[in-house]
């Protein structure tokens, strides 16, 4: 019987796992960013809470959430393994290594940027995800929905959390700047007609996602949103 053999344990297969899970997380970020941007409607969180309620109760979303968490874990574990394996591939380091002559610093720092994002994610998930899915949201809004907006407002009164969130979005920006186009290259989608488009799309995607997310804690701390 024919089998897939070592397809996923080979160096190309490991890249493929990073690329597919990465693209999946890129898709997730679009949804996450759109729902959260509903706070900018500035109606005391009513619209945002409708979105949050839908995300928390729709069975299809909840099922996707399991896949999302599995994909995220796979991306993290595989990324850390690859980082250590790749460091081991050069046991003796160069005395002089001029990396900036041939590549971007963030392309060479995906392991570091990813680790910073992992630290952020632990804080972020305990701030909101654990509260909304497990420990429960204490208050309800005028529509009778769980008031996740209130939890958000309270969290972002802490200036250190705001700083952490904004810095983390900096890491996300550079992680995406490399990751977006890199995932397509890994899938083999290097094409003279499409690659310039993918690269430009990746830059715009990274900037928009990082800026919109970073604007949320800042706007809430500064009191622009009530």
């Amino acid at each position: 019987m024919a089998s897939f053999g070592n397809a996923f344990s080979s160096s190309i297969g490991k890249k493929l796992i990073m690329g597919i899970t990465g693209l999946f997380l890129i898709l997730f970020l679009i949804v996450h960013c759109f729902i959260n941007a509903l706070i900018f409607v500035n109606d005391g969180g009513l619209t945002f809470n409708i979105g949050a309620h839908f995300m928390a109760t729709n069975w299809l979303i909840r099922a996707s959430e399991v896949i999302l968490m599995a994909g995220l874990l796979l991306h993290i574990i595989q990324g850390l393994r690859l980082t250590f394996q790749n460091q081991a591939a050069r046991p003796e380091k160069y005395a002089v290594y001029d990396g900036k002559a041939n590549s971007k610093w963030y392309s060479r720092s995906m392991g570091l940027l990813g680790t910073l994002l992992l630290i952020f994610l632990i804080v972020h998930l305990s701030n909101f995800w654990v509260v909304s899915r497990f420990t429960g949201i204490p208050t309800e809004d005028a529509n009778g929905h769980e008031d996740l907006f209130a939890v958000m407002k309270e969290t972002f009164q802490n200036v250190w959390l705001v700083v952490l969130y904004v810095l983390a979005m900096g890491s996300l920006l550079y992680h995406l700047l490399h990751g977006f186009a890199s995932a397509f290259q890994t899938l083999g989608w290097n094409h003279k007609k499409y690659s310039p488009l993918i690269k430009a799309l990746g830059v715009w995607y990274s900037i928009i996602i990082a800026v919109v997310f970073a604007a949320m804690p800042i706007a809430m701390y500064a009191g622009f949103i009530n």
Binding site: A7, N86, Y97, D98, M110, N190
Partner: protein, 256 residues
């Protein structure tokens, strides 16, 4: 023999053998001609060392015209030095300033162990080729020209991949010491021609497996290899290798 006016400080990696611990040793060079090649400067240095009764520096070199892929010096943090699209033998001292300090190290990768000083063992590349970087055909009379029609675009693309001289600069500069650019070039030069088709999917699987077995790192698409390659081998080749690998693993029913 020196007739120039450049004074330089070289910091060169000296390592007795594969087991010994190496270190950077300082050498003061004077009256270096700016028209010398980098390797000729090393010839001058070695002559001085021999006259002093010291061990000359071991370094790889052969054709000295940029087509053999033997020379392999990591100069001031870059493979083949500061210029683009050339090998170390094509680098001239006029690319440096009088009074410069130049650090020269061997290629560094687990899969490229140091033999002595600046010479490293690159037979891992030979083993990747031996794993499938060929076409199995009966030898005989040369075929008529154009017996197999190949579009110019395709022939050019295959030829660009075939320009790889296997020097290992891609591995040396990659932060992961990955050999993907080399392996993908050797796969692409055959994958784009009709003669390479019968063994196309078998080839990509065995060459990638051998590359992994040699202990090279994994590619993270930094693009450093493409930027430093003296022959301008493109990342398109890595994407093509990835596509062929997926076809082989997920589409082809052939067992390897």
């Amino acid at each position: 023999m020196s007739t120039g006016n450049m004074n330089l400080t070289l910091k060169v990696w000296r390592q007795k053998n594969n087991k010994a611990k190496g270190n950077l040793v300082d050498y003061k060079m004077s009256e270096i001609s700016p028209d010398m090649s980098f390797l000729e400067m090393f010839d001058v240095l070695n002559e001085q060392l021999i006259n002093k009764g010291e061990e000359p520096i071991v370094f790889d070199h052969d054709c000295r015209e940029g087509i053999c892929g033997a020379c392999s010096m990591y100069i001031n943090g870059r493979p083949h030095g500061p210029k683009e699209g050339i090998t170390t033998c094509q680098l001239h001292m006029r690319s440096f300033q009088d009074g410069d300090t130049i650090v020269v190290e061997p290629w560094r990768a687990k899969a490229f162990p140091v033999i002595k000083d600046l010479a490293v063992d690159r037979t891992a590349f030979d083993r990747i080729i031996a794993a499938g970087g060929f076409i199995s055909v009966n030898t005989g009379n040369a075929q008529d020209a154009n017996a197999l029609p190949i579009p110019k675009f395709q022939a050019d693309s295959a030829f660009e991949a075939a320009a790889c001289i296997g020097c290992g600069a891609c591995v040396a500069t990659c932060k992961n010491a990955s050999a993907m650019l080399f392996t993908s070039a050797k796969i692409s030069q055959l994958a784009q021609l009709p003669q390479g088709q019968p063994e196309r999917y078998r080839r990509v699987q065995s060459m990638v497996a051998q590359m992994d077995a040699e202990g090279f790192g994994n590619c993270t698409n930094t693009g450093a290899c493409e930027a430093e390659c003296p022959k301008g081998i493109s990342l398109e080749n890595i994407a093509r290798m990835n596509r062929d690998f997926y076809s082989a693993k997920f589409v082809s029913e052939e067992e390897v």
